[in-house]
């Protein structure tokens, strides 16, 4: 059977992401990649933790952070994680339209998050918290910015997938792609949980 | 096979000869001729680990030679298929447990020595004992500064310390990372740019005499073009002589009598004094002390840390510093000097003595 063969709800397998060898490889390879990403972010976190008091005369975390803004951003990203679960739920039920719809909602929420982050950075810069100011600033922007870049890349990726597959519907060639994109999106959320805890909340506690 | 053994034999013969030729290195430099408590401790650790390791090598070599000679393919046996052995738990346990035991034998003294060498409590006491000598070492691109905070004096390039007692060091770097190493006296410690490291050394009087009164110190961390030339010298003195030296340093002032040297002093005061101080009591903050203190230049053992101490070498150094130490920070800071001016400067600098 060909991967592009038109499937019906009856012939669609229970785990479409792992139904083909390509899918299995993609699935596993992506998880391994996430293992590596864990270490990447750990290095960024570790450096941030080592440098977070080194403000070199610039504003400190406590003076800077806007908790309401961070709270809203957190809610947006957490919710987008749920919506992408919905998307995968519909994928498993072979409901392409609903899957696209929920991925669309995910993208909107993610874009909202990204917008808030850009706004937030902009505010900080206006208060003199620029990248070159101090080791604290450099490590803050690199950690949170790397996460932001992941969000942006995730958005581009999901949108590309949605547009590319809009006409042809779900098959075993693209199901694994949607699946790993949603894994990626959850991982972004996992990282954010640590960012809001370690950077923002611990920044407020001191 | 013969060729193989012959090769081994030749090779070991060659290395043994080479070692004999070289001996164990020079007493003023070699870690193999330890000249103080720290180096002694490290040397015994070396001997212990070497002994254990040679034991391992001997065991491996015996099995190795036996196996390679005994089980090589012989004529007419090309088709022989040996027994396919899976393994042996007994053997595998043996060669797991024995190394663990050997390592424990090595680990215990290692840990204990590591803690002993890090014991710098006496220098950090709230009120530290007056007798304890503390030296602040500051490493700079290709020169060393030694400050004695308790005596308020500063010297460069030649470290002077009392023998037969623990001397404590604060170590830091002012530009890039260096590492402070006096091989014969003890292991190294890095001078970092962003913190202060502390350790201690002890200089043995007998070993000092054997080494000719001077030990060589080295920079052991790549720090730029002249890393290889960033040497310093250590003059350990008996305690009374050391105390006398300190007193002389405290009161030292340049005394210039010679007319040529006077001329040199004028040039010095015009072109050099901005960076170089000529009094050991230099109250400026360390950021302002951008070049070696020259108060006892005439007493030094080396020009620029490496050249033999004579007027000719000093002239060479002043004329073209980069030819002596590439990438040094002095080159190009004082314009071109005529030979006469260099002559005068040389006379002046050589007259700077405290002893």
């Amino acid at each position: 059977m060909h991967v592009e063969e038109k499937l019906t709800a009856e012939t669609f397998p229970a785990s479409p992401e792992k139904a083909t060898l390509e899918g299995k490889n993609k699935f596993l390879g992506f998880w391994l990649f996430l293992g590596g990403e864990t270490v990447l972010f750990a290095s960024l976190f570790a450096t941030y933790l080592a440098l977070r008091d080194k403000t070199a005369g610039g504003p400190s975390a406590e003076e800077l952070f806007r908790m309401p803004l961070v709270f809203v951003a957190t809610m947006l990203l957490l919710t987008s994680s749920l919506t992408s679960v919905y998307a995968i739920y519909h994928m498993k039920n072979f409901d392409f339209k609903k899957m696209q719809l929920w991925f669309g909602v995910t993208v909107l929420l993610g874009a909202g998050f990204l917008g808030l982050e850009i706004f937030e950075f902009n505010e900080y810069v206006r208060e003199g918290h620029v990248f070159t100011k101090s080791a604290f600033a450099s490590s803050f922007y690199t950690l949170v910015g790397t996460h932001g870049a992941h969000v942006a890349f995730g958005l581009l990726w999901i949108v590309t997938l949605m547009i590319r597959n809009a006409k042809r519907g779900l098959n075993l060639y693209n199901a694994p792609k949607f699946y790993v994109a949603s894994l990626y999106w959850h991982f972004i959320d996992v990282v954010w949980v640590f960012i809001f805890t370690v950077v923002y909340l611990m920044g407020m506690v001191g | 096979m013969k060729k193989w053994l012959l090769n081994w034999r030749l090779f070991s013969l060659f290395s043994v000869m080479a070692l004999l030729l070289a001996g164990c290195g020079k007493p003023f430099l070699s870690t193999l001729q330890p000249a103080g408590e720290v180096a002694d401790m490290q040397y015994s650790l070396m001997l212990l680990s070497t002994a254990i390791m040679v034991l391992v090598i001997i065991v491996v070599t015996i099995i190795f030679v036996y196996v390679v000679v005994r089980f090589r393919q012989r004529k007419g046996e090309e088709k022989k298929i040996p027994k396919q052995v899976e393994g042996s738990h007994k053997l595998e346990i043996i060669w797991t447990v024995i190394p663990i035991l050997l390592l424990i034998i090595l680990a215990v003294p290692t840990v204990s020595a590591t803690f002993k060498l890090a014991d710098v409590k006496p220098m950090n006491k709230e009120k530290r004992n007056k007798d304890i000598v503390v030296v602040n070492v500051r490493a700079n691109l290709y020169w060393w500064e030694f400050e004695y905070p308790d005596y308020g004096i500063i010297t460069s390039q030649d470290l002077v310390v009392p023998t037969n007692e623990r001397v404590y060091f604060n170590l830091k770097a002012s530009d890039v990372k260096h590492s402070f190493w006096i091989p014969a006296v003890g292991g190294k410690m890095d001078t970092n740019v962003d913190n202060k490291n502390q350790f201690w050394l002890e200089f043995d009087q007998k070993a000092t005499d054997k080494a000719g009164g001077i030990f060589y110190g080295k920079c052991a961390e790549l720090c730029g073009p002249s890393h290889a030339l960033m040497d310093f010298k250590v003059k350990p003195l008996p305690r009374e002589e050391f105390d006398q030296w300190v007193e002389k340093m405290k009161n030292a002032k340049p005394v210039v009598t010679d007319s040529v040297a006077k001329e040199g002093e004028a040039i010095f005061n015009k072109s050099c004094i901005g960076c170089h101080a000529v009094s050991p009591v230099d109250k400026r903050p360390e950021q302002a002390r951008t070049a070696p203190n020259l108060a006892n230049f005439g007493d030094r053992t080396r020009i620029a840390g490496i050249l033999e101490h004579n007027e000719e070498n000093l002239k060479k150094w002043l004329k073209d510093p980069n030819s002596v130490k590439p990438g040094n920070k002095m080159a190009g800071t004082y314009g071109n000097l005529t030979d006469a001016q260099i002559n005068a400067l040389t006379k002046y600098l050589m007259s700077l003595k405290v002893e």
Partner: protein, 618 residues
Amino acid sequence: MSTVARKKSLIWDYLTTVDHKKIAILYLIAGGFFFLVGGLEALFIRIQLAKPNNDFLVGGLYNQVLTMHGTTMIFLAAMPLVFAMMNAVVPIQIGARDVAFPFLNALGFWLFFFGGVFLNLSWFLGGAPDAGWTSYASLSLESPGHGIDFYVLGLQISGFGTLIGGINFLVTIINMRAPGMTYMRMPMFTWATFVTSALILFAFPPLTVGLIFMMMDRLFGGNFYNPAGGGNTIIWEHLFWIFGHPEVYILVLPAFGIFSEIFATFSKKRLFGYSSMVFATVLIGFLGFMVWAHHMFTVGMGPIANAIFAVATMAIAVPTGIKIFNWLFTMWGGNIRFTTPMLYAVAFIPSFVMGGVTGVMNAAAAADYQYHDSYFVVAHFHYVIVGGVVFALLAGAHYWWPKMFGKMLNETLGKITFWLFFTGFHLTFFIQHFLGLMGMPRRVFTYLPGQGFETGNLISTVGAFFMAAATIVLLVNVVITTAKGQKAEADAWGDGRTLEWAVASPPPEYNFAQTPLVRGLDAFWIEKMEGKKGLTPAEPLGDIHMPNSSILPFVISLGLFIAAFGFMYRTEHSWGLAVGIIGLLITLGSMFLRSVIDDHGFHIHKEEVLEAEKGVKA
């Protein structure tokens, strides 16, 4: 599409290939080239140090050569050559037709290649990096010019390639094994590849982060390592060694794997204590992450940290010891044939034991204060890396050359190479232990007379020329073999035990006409012992699915290469930023193309397979 119709020019074929066997050859050529470059740099170093106060390479230039020697040998020679072996052998050893991600496999190579080229272009564009291969932060931030920028960006690009390669091999080994090839039946080299890839997966991200920080500091005004802005230079040292220590095992575990294959093959015995070998490999990989700070004993971490890392480091000696004895007992009772690969393997044991024991000596923290950054350490890691890794690569190249190219390397020339190299190696590095103990620091461009360093350095330099001669003989051998070498059989050495010796030399594009059924450790040996010629197939003969070749991996990597130039010259040339962005767009654009263009591969039909198989048999 048929195979015939796809025949294009050789160069285009290699630029677009996604076949792991061709990628192996690309890795071998590129890695071999960089090995020659790094070797030349080593010769220059030894010439300069042949006598005191020499003026062949002075000061800054010497530091550039020294830095590039280390960086090139580790990142651009040893790693890709290891990847060459893995690519050539591992998929066949597990009975697979290809790797899990053929496209990514090609991308990994081209990223490494462009990173390496970028790094080496620094020679022609204002000077190479000069802060040592470790590039410690305070010095590398001070270093003028663009040398360090070349280092940072070049390693970043090739590092991505390595990471991709690592993930690819992990998935390949996990998902693509033939029926019956359980984990505990995998050949030792496959196991080594597996553990190595896991190490790559976890060790390269810290390097990536460290390099990002350094790039930020040098090019974008960051303050990570700048104490004036609150930064901390030690962070670089930690990140570098969290990567750097596992890196040693990334190199040496495949070496162990190669030797394990060779010992078994030429002793005609199965590997002694296979399961404990697997256990030891995994354990070495695991411990490899716990010991990085032993490179930093003199930094001033304090006695507690030093003691912990000292003891942890010593622990690694145990699994390594297990391996040494297992190899000895693999030979014990065997019928040892001294072919060229076996000579290297045999010579490896005493050489590597020497390097291993000095490693334990270095682990003794208090004593390491004396060894650290002295020639003792130089001797130690060259014993490990040359005596372990380079011996293994030379052995592996001779061993698998017939498999990769279909021709046997000349054994006489091979043995001459071995003896020259072996002699030169010990001559060069043995004496350096003593130079270090006698007080000679590492990375010095010269030394003064009268300190006792003359004899040792001269001997060392003479040794280096022996190794150079060996390399020349090897090159001659390669040329002669390519021109008129003897054609190799499938089981080229006659004693092959693993699956790669069951397929033709060189193997067909699809490796196995029928996926084999694996019935135990040393699958091919088992079949041979039962008197069979070939493998037991696990499936009927049918159409074979193959991946399409693609130029996109090349273009993606080229984009990053261009972008690196742009961002590096951003501040001093007006075109810098634009070129940087264009480069990134090329990369992202080709990634986009890859994403939207469906790539289902093609099939080689049953008839063609039959035709091809007949050709081989005839």
